[in-house]
């Protein structure tokens, strides 16, 4: 069993991260999950949220991802996401405001508008991940 995990975070624009990590915590659709070396093959759809991973050099890292896929196989994790952001570069105040307006919109939405609800929910999760909730 390998000691380390190889993590690749890939967006359509660039390879955000490619290196060895000790552990990873990702926002799965069924709740947050952690991956350690020796994990069984695993495929999960990710919600927008915060991705945390620990490396030897830089310690704990956090990235905001806009949903996507996580594929774990042979101690290699591939995270495929539409977009990723560095939490330090995010305007928290604006994100908090977004999050509040989106929550209100979501509350007022009728049950029938499922696709709209999904889209709003996605935006809300992104905003919340930016705020750091």
């Amino acid at each position: 069993m390998a000691e380390k995990l190889r993590l690749k975070i890939i967006t359509p624009e660039k390879l955000v991260f490619d290196g060895e990590v000790e552990e990873l915590v990702a926002p799965g659709q069924m709740g947050e999950f952690g991956v350690l070396p020796g994990h069984v093959p695993f495929l999960s759809v990710l919600f927008p949220g915060r991705l945390r991973f620990k490396t030897e050099e830089s310690g704990e890292n956090t990235l905001i991802i806009h949903g996507g896929l996580a594929d774990v196989k042979d101690d290699t994790i591939s995270i495929l996401t539409d977009q990723s952001e560095n939490p330090e570069e995010v305007d928290v105040a604006a994100a908090r405001k977004d999050s509040e307006t989106l929550q209100k919109e979501l509350d007022e939405l009728q049950d029938t508008e499922a696709s709209e609800r999904e889209e709003l929910d996605r935006k809300l999760r992104i905003a919340r991940a930016r705020v750091g909730e």
Binding site: P12, E13, M30, L43, D71, S78, L80
Partner: protein, 294 residues
């Protein structure tokens, strides 16, 4: 022999053509650089996406999702053909069209009906007159709108496959190898199950954990996969087009230089010939006068 005036006019016109081609070459070089950077960034993503999807498809049954359906017979083939909108890019389009023709020839033995859809004007212009059934046609695709176009196309093609209107969907585009080399590629987009021969397919599905359950995952990643691959093909084709145009314009510029050099030589020769003729006339004239005086 042409007159000096004729030659100067000709040189001038070749010069101005050369200037235009030089400018087009520079534009193509800049656009190539941008497109290439975007393509190189997109390749890891689209390849990783394909690996994941093929892996899931290999672990799934064809009943799990309509997009995994294995057609019972090969009746309808739909090819999405990527060419450029504009010319002046060397043999880019003609080579694509030639390969496409032989591909259609080969496949007509396998499939009953072949339909072509087009991204780019050149391919459509050619095949609309050739008697092959034509489907959708998109023009004006560039680096900035390729996502929007690919989403639209993906939705249409997925639906077609789902309802059984096509049994196989193929992308035909130029794969960008380097600035001087592009290779035409035929990529089977659907059905996925026909690509099961990967070595990774040996794992049994019981070892793999899916979250949420496999059917839901397939439902969300398969349509996206189709879009990602179409966008990838668009990017490959656009980058190849810029590379081909740059090379073609570079050749044209150096050809123009050659023509200008030849014409300049001709100009000098002609001028010299005229001077020589005039001198001969003067000498002859003086000789004649001398003779008269004696």
């Amino acid at each position: 022999m042409p007159s000096l005036k004729q030659i100067t006019t000709k040189i001038k016109s070749v010069r101005s053509t050369r200037r235009i081609m030089g400018a087009m070459k520079l534009i193509a070089a800049v656009r190539l650089q941008k497109a290439q950077a975007a393509l190189m960034a997109y390749r890891p993503y689209s390849d990783a996406y394909r690996d994941v999807v093929l892996n899931v498809a290999a672990l799934s049954e064809s009943e799990d999702h309509p997009l995994l359906r294995i057609p019972e017979e090969k009746a309808n083939l739909h090819v999405l053909f990527f060419t450029s909108d504009r010319g002046l890019c060397g043999s880019f389009n003609s080579a694509l069209i030639r390969n496409m023709q032989s591909y259609v020839g080969e496949q007509s033995g396998v499939f009953g009906n072949i339909k072509l859809s087009f991204v780019g004007r050149r391919g459509r212009d050619y095949f609309s007159k050739s008697g092959v059934a034509t489907g959708k046609y998109y023009t004006g695709v560039n680096e900035r709108n390729s996502r929007k176009f690919s989403e639209e196309l993906a939705a249409a093609l997925t639906e077609e496959f789902r309802v059984g209107e096509s049994d196989e969907i193929v992308l035909a585009y130029n794969h960008f190898v380097s600035a001087i080399s592009q290779r035409m590629t035929f990529e089977r987009l659907l059905p996925l199950s026909a690509q099961k021969s990967d070595s990774s397919a040996t794992e049994s599905s019981s070892d793999y954990i899916f979250e949420p359950e496999k059917e839901r995952i397939i439902g969300s990643i398969l349509p996206k996969y189709v879009q990602v691959r179409i966008e990838r093909a668009m990017n490959e084709s656009l980058t190849s087009e810029h590379a081909a145009r740059m090379t073609a314009m570079e050749n044209a510029t150096s050809n123009a230089d050659e023509v200008i050099a030849k014409l300049t030589l001709l100009f000098n020769k002609t001028r010299q010939a005229i001077i020589t003729t005039e001198l001969m006339d003067i000498v002859n004239g003086t000789e004649a006068q001398k003779g008269g005086n004696e």
